[in-house]
């Protein structure tokens, strides 16, 4: 008889989801949005608590947190080692391919993988661990995936079912896969136009020689055009196609080795700012207001402007659910995201890019956040770009840039206006 269970628990906020994850696994995850003091207090509690090993396969709230070793090959080797005496390179590559990962990433540093690739690696690892782990506890297991990759989760689920192992899923309310509740909110945003010039930009990631060799990699965006883009716009595409790299190029974090990529707003501004997908590490262990005060320590005018944007945006989330679940709402992931956005908006760039703005937020909060941010941004003459594969953002977008893989090193960019 199959005793395996499949439970789905839904949460309103990221904080309650993490609390539940910690309670069910015994694996402590610090709340970085609460600042450094809270972190050390929490960590002391973890250090001083006796706990029994959970022996569960885990997909953590952030996919990176469960990947303890430096590259996919080592992650898979250590996961397979207890069941196979000496897992071969081919065997590891087979596991990676099964979950849609290019075997060439096996020696790539984990931190350079995209969110979706990290999640798929977690799937491959969870399958390898299925023989000896008691159950699978998965937090947001499809959030980072493009809809064309949802079947990998289905495969993993079936694999655990066939081994008679239970699965516990923890998701935020409104998750596109587990909770396909449609909201009827009407989001009307007056579009703002800016000029985007793409001249076949090429990025070269140099070879890594130490400690493990990984060959050099290039991505060429095979597109040569000037477009008048309507904001808010969506940057979409498959996992690992290079969406984050494209937004990195736009905001001058990723160096372009040849070709060009530039923007020009109607107000003449050409700079672009980016809010990264993993919002928590961007706070440098500071509370949201402290973050703003420190960034603008020498510019009181911008400091005040950022604080005003922060407080105004935060006041929009005055719902009773949040009050019940979080005692101090200014220390939540949502508040932290708002602080990061406010900090960038006070700079009045030509373009503000939000990489996966819905991560760690319920669908309702994520939509309200992006709606309000686009209103504030457009009022300031700042265009807004959303980097995501989540279908939920289509209703906000006035236009869309779709990145399509032509070959391993070439990507095409298609523009469509709605």
């Amino acid at each position: 008889m199959n005793n395996a269970t499949y439970n789905i628990s839904k949460f309103n906020t990221f904080e309650t989801l993490v609390d539940s994850f910690v309670a069910s696994t015994g694996v402590y995850f610090p709340k970085l949005s609460e600042g450094r003091n809270s972190f050390f207090k929490g960590f002391y509690n973890w250090l001083s608590t006796e706990r029994t090993p959970s022996n569960c396969s885990l997909i953590t709230p952030e996919p990176l947190q469960a990947l303890s070793l430096p590259n996919p090959a080592q992650v898979m080797y250590s996961a397979l080692r207890p069941i196979l005496n000496s897992p071969s390179e081919d065997c590891i590559k087979e596991y990676l391919s099964k979950y849609g990962l290019d075997p060439s990433i096996s020696t790539q540093p984990i931190t350079t993988l995209s969110g979706g690739e990290m999640l798929l690696l977690n799937f491959a690892k969870a399958e390898a661990q299925a023989e000896y782990s008691e159950r699978l506890i998965a937090s947001n297991p499809v959030f980072w995936l493009n809809s064309s990759r949802y079947h990998h989760w289905q495969s993993l689920k079936e694999f655990y079912g066939s081994k008679q192992k239970s699965i516990d899923v923890l998701v935020l309310n409104g998750d596109t896969y587990f909770d396909n509740a449609q909201t009827n909110d009407d989001f009307k945003i007056h579009p703002l136009e800016f000029k985007l010039s793409i001249k076949e930009p090429k990025v070269i990631f140099p070879e890594i020689r130490f400690p493990i060799y990984h060959a050099a990699r290039t991505i060429t965006y095979k597109c040569h055009k000037e477009i008048i883009v309507k904001s808010p716009f969506l940057i979409s595409g498959d996992n690992g196609v290079g969406k984050s790299i494209f937004s990195g190029m736009l905001s001058s974090i990723v160096n372009i080795s040849s070709g060009d990529l530039s923007i020009e707003a109607l107000n003449g501004e050409t700079a672009s700012r980016l809010v990264f997908q993993e919002a928590v590490s961007q706070c440098f262990a500071k509370t949201p207001e402290k973050l703003i005060n420190d960034v603008f320590c020498a510019d009181l005018e911008r400091n005040q402007s950022a604080l005003n944007v922060f407080r105004n945006l935060l006041s929009e989330f005055n719902n009773p659910d949040q009050h019940q679940e979080c005692e101090n709402k200014t220390y939540t992931l949502l508040a932290l995201k708002i602080a990061l956005i406010a900090e960038r908006l006070a700079d009045k760039p030509a373009l503000l890019l939000l990489d996966e703005p819905g991560w760690g937020l319920s669908n309702k909060d994520a939509q309200l956040l992006v709606y309000k941010v686009s209103q504030v941004a457009h009022d300031l003459g700042v265009a807004l770009g959303i980097v995501s594969h989540q279908p939920t953002w289509h209703k906000f977008a006035a236009s869309k840039l779709t990145l399509k893989r032509l070959s391993q090193n070439e990507v095409d960019i298609e523009y469509e206006s709605f």
Partner: protein, 251 residues
């Protein structure tokens, strides 16, 4: 096969031999005896004081040469850039303190200068040596090598592997934070937003900002390095438990 592979320390097998070579090469960084021995040999050819002074750069040079085949020129230069910044900061701070608090330090100016010189070249060598050392061992191969051992060696080894991984993780954290920092402050060592302030006010605000930023970096590195430890411990525990089960089934 690359003809330089023979000189690449991180490819030496077994891992304990690699460890021993690292300790022997790094010995002058922790003990005065090798430097004294080398300076005695050099003093046959040069003035003894000069021999002592050139011993330290020679040792640093030898350690750089030792790390070069594994790291490659680009990575070694990256590490050395950071090492030079740390060494200069340390030596300048030390000499300022010697000037401001003379009663704490030794009276002999020449001896203290030689001590600072030694400190400078040791910092220059310690940085590339320790980073090469930490990254030359892979925690999973240590875990696998330890699988055949019995308690308490295996438990100790697992703790060592975990500690090693945590040290390696610092490098990853610094890389991640640097990208975030570059987005916020593109010129890295000057704040993005300076408003209307000028001249002396700017210098004062910049020093204040720099000091606060250093504290932020220390906390952020510490916290983000600590962050994955619980998940790492969990994973290492699962492997350890699995090994125990394998052991008992073999019996």
């Amino acid at each position: 096969m690359n003809r330089f592979n023979f000189f690449k320390i991180h490819l030496v097998k077994p891992f304990w031999l690699r460890f021993i070579i690292f300790i022997i090469v790094g010995l002058p960084l922790f003990s005065n005896s090798p430097a004294r021995f080398i300076s005695q040999i050099l003093s046959k050819f040069f003035n003894p004081e000069f021999a002592l002074i050139i011993t330290y750069p020679l040792i640093s040079f030898f350690i750089w040469l030792f790390c070069l085949p594994s790291l490659g020129l680009k990575k070694l230069l990256d590490y050395m850039a950071a090492a030079f910044a740390i060494a200069l900061t340390t030596v300048i701070t030390s000499s300022l303190l010697q000037y401001l608090l003379p009663f704490i330090f030794e009276k002999d100016a020449y001896a203290s200068s030689v001590r600072l010189l030694r400190l400078y070249f040791i910092v220059l060598a310690v940085f590339p040596w320790s980073l090469t050392f930490i990254n030359s061992f892979s925690p999973d191969s240590i875990i696998n090598a330890l699988m055949h051992l019995k308690k308490p060696f295996r438990e100790t080894g697992l703790h060592f592997a975990l500690a090693l991984r945590v040290f390696q993780h610092v490098g990853t954290v610094v890389g991640r934070l640097l990208i975030i920092w570059k987005e916020r402050h593109p010129s890295i060592i000057v704040m993005r937003h300076v408003g209307e302030i000028k001249n002396l006010d700017f210098i004062w605000e910049w020093i204040r900002w720099l000091a606060c930023s250093l504290i932020d970096w220390v906390y952020a590195c510490l916290i983000l390095t600590f962050e994955p430890i619980p998940a790492m411990v969990n994973e290492f525990e699962i492997l350890s438990e699995r090994n125990k089960i394998n052991d008992s089934s073999e019996k």
